[in-house]
Point group: C2
Chain length 386, copies 2
């Protein structure tokens, strides 16, 4: 049977790292020890307060649909968190609880993107963003970014790439895979460049809270005419629950509610009840301790990698990734990643997963693993070079 | 701020019943008693074995992403269920676990539908199906169906509506809102009509298991070249968990996996662990007792409604809905539904939510409420007519 596939499927790439992971699992099945530094989720369990909240809720058995936009009390709790933690006033009515940040981005793009509409996205960047653009028949246009601008796009670049079909710009702070941030002035300048052209700005704040040596913030402190995508996965440690949220400009909420009804009916009810415990002071204490642990890992790993010949020109200040230039070590990061697994048992993600901008020169190394394992990985890297 | 909305949003309608629900809640806040017969989910709690399985899993705290296609052991359990319950051999590799049946339909349509491709859908039908078609820039073409064919489309109708742009047919058995079934011969004839024209058949089996006076089956017993959408929501009583699955023809699975990675990353991990308990004999005992309860409700409600002047020409044999012709009672089902709420405190869903085929003549009445409440609702209806 020859499948009759939609044209979009030809443009949508898999996560290439999955192939490496398959190989890693084969080697592990043979008894080899693999240090996993390719994983894009915290290695910590879901904090106990969220587990307890979900378990308490489940004893009722009353796991029915919620409103499509999410539990009102959760939308209010998120609004309070924006106020108390970041000094941002966000009306709960603008907060749409979603099945993960992916669900939030799907809603934002489905609500705004006609066939042929172009979105500008920094390259390297999180691959699903461009694939969701493509899925709704938009066109993802890469803005190649590099260490000179800390892997973030500039207003000049936005202006230069803008066409009559450009619908807007999607940026991420902190960025995956580079861990770099946009400060308030840079975000204001990007917003101005986009809005002056009649476009829309979407800010991915999925790694909000996971910043090191600098406080987290939100673009919502000063702007109410942009979309913000966020998640309970990373800072809050709830990846498997699949819960995120979208903050939309007020004028879009009613239309997005319709889409949410049809795409999702409602977000996961147990996950929403778990998330009600996410903002409690006792939970934040746990999360801040984890943030400190991530900071320590970064501070250990970054100089050690540099000593091994990895070039990291733009200091990562957030998320849990180091996007390293491997040009002093190898010609091709995909082959290099294969060698790392086969020869010394270290898994990392080749740049290929993040776009077309010098991907074979870069490797994403996640510090979602214990300190001692990271140090052992560095020793293994040294062995590879020896 | 004037929102810059995608054109698709103008074509996507909200669930109209939400307005009625808002009014029902207002009245309830004023102390009025409303009998809810508009709700599209079982009134039963999630069965205890699933609650226990989830709770046990949560004690580990290890709520991380799973594979994008779902936990291998859950895909195998679903395959075993197909074999043991329905005598259908379905390879676990073809089973894709999704965030609800909505997620399954999104994957099937995103994988197969180019802009302008037409899908044929029975009208009345579940509204999200046509809105998801539209969201991926397909065109939903209604096949008006009525009681003569038990609200199911015929091969002749499919042939008559087929155009060079037609991509395929989506049918549901049991159907929402009519509760009618397609038998094996009818499904075979519809498949033949679709495949002869180079099209694709999607069968919505979301209400599988909830049939009364007739055994449930699956189209997968005799066909491996169709898509099947299913859910843990209805028969298994897990609505709020948001978990369903898609069975795809083998040749599509790899492409659908890519889409699932980007759309969802993975289905909810707690929900998947809960669902592992869904097929145990002790769970099935609970579910079959509920099925008997639904059958009793139907057998009580259906004659009582007929006695009140509701016309139900095509016997509903599944799901938990009665799609009643109200033309002997009122000229417009939307106004009638408003009167029901305001005057006698009964909530039901006007036909408007299910398409354009005589919607004002029909009302969907769900028996997702206790027997005594259903009987009280009938008494109230009698009062309305008096």
């Amino acid at each position: 049977m020859t499948p009759h596939l939609a044209r979009r499927t030809a443009d949508i790439q898999p996560f290439h790292v999955m192939e490496l992971l398959r190989r890693a699992r084969e080697l592990e099945a043979q008894g080899r020890d693999i240090i996993h530094m390719e994983v894009g989720e915290p290695d910590f369990p879901t904090p106990q307060p969220m587990i307890d909240a979900a378990t308490r809720f489940l004893t009722s058995g009353d796991v029915h649909y919620t409103a499509a936009l999410g539990l009102p009390q959760l939308r209010e709790a998120i609004a309070r968190f924006y106020h108390d933690r970041f000094g941002a006033d966000v009306a709960p009515e603008r907060i749409i609880v979603t099945p993960g940040a992916s669900g939030a981005l799907m809603l934002a793009l489905a609500a705004t993107t006609d066939p042929g509409d172009e979105w500008l996205l920094p390259d390297p960047g999180y691959p699903s963003n461009r694939h969701i653009v493509r899925s709704f028949e938009g066109v993802a246009r890469a803005l190649p970014v590099n260490a000179d601008t800390r892997f973030q796009p500039t207003p000049a670049q936005v202006g230069g790439a803008w066409t009559p079909r450009t619908r807007g710009l999607i940026v991420a702070t902190p960025s995956n895979p580079t861990g770099t941030l946009l400060d308030a002035a840079e975000l204001a300048a990007l917003r101005a460049a986009v809005l002056a052209r009649g476009g829309t700005l979407i800010v991915d704040e999925i790694y909000q809270g996971l910043t090191y040596g600098v406080d987290s913030s939100t673009v919502l402190r000063s702007m109410d005419d942009v979309f913000v995508v966020n998640s309970f996965s990373k800072y809050f440690g709830m990846t498997g629950w699949r819960l995120g949220w979208l903050v939309a400009p007020s004028a879009y909420v009613r239309e997005i509610e319709k889409l949410a009804q049809h795409f999702f009916i409602s977000p996961s009810t147990p996950a929403q009840h778990a998330a009600l415990a996410a903002f409690a002071p006792s939970t934040i204490d746990i999360l801040e301790a984890r943030r400190n642990e991530f900071a320590t890992r970064r501070d250990t790993l970054l100089p050690a990698l540099r000593q091994q010949g990895f070039i990291v020109a733009a200091e990562p200040q957030g998320a849990f990734y180091i996007y390293a230039d491997i040009s002093q070590l190898a010609a091709d990061s995909e082959q290099f990643a294969q060698r790392l697994i086969e020869e010394v048992g270290v898994a990392a993600t080749p740049g290929l997963d993040f776009g077309d901008n010098q991907p074979r020169r870069h490797l994403r190394i996640a510090y979602t693993n214990r300190q001692e394992r990271l140090l052992e990985a560095v020793e293994r890297l040294a062995r590879l070079r020896a």
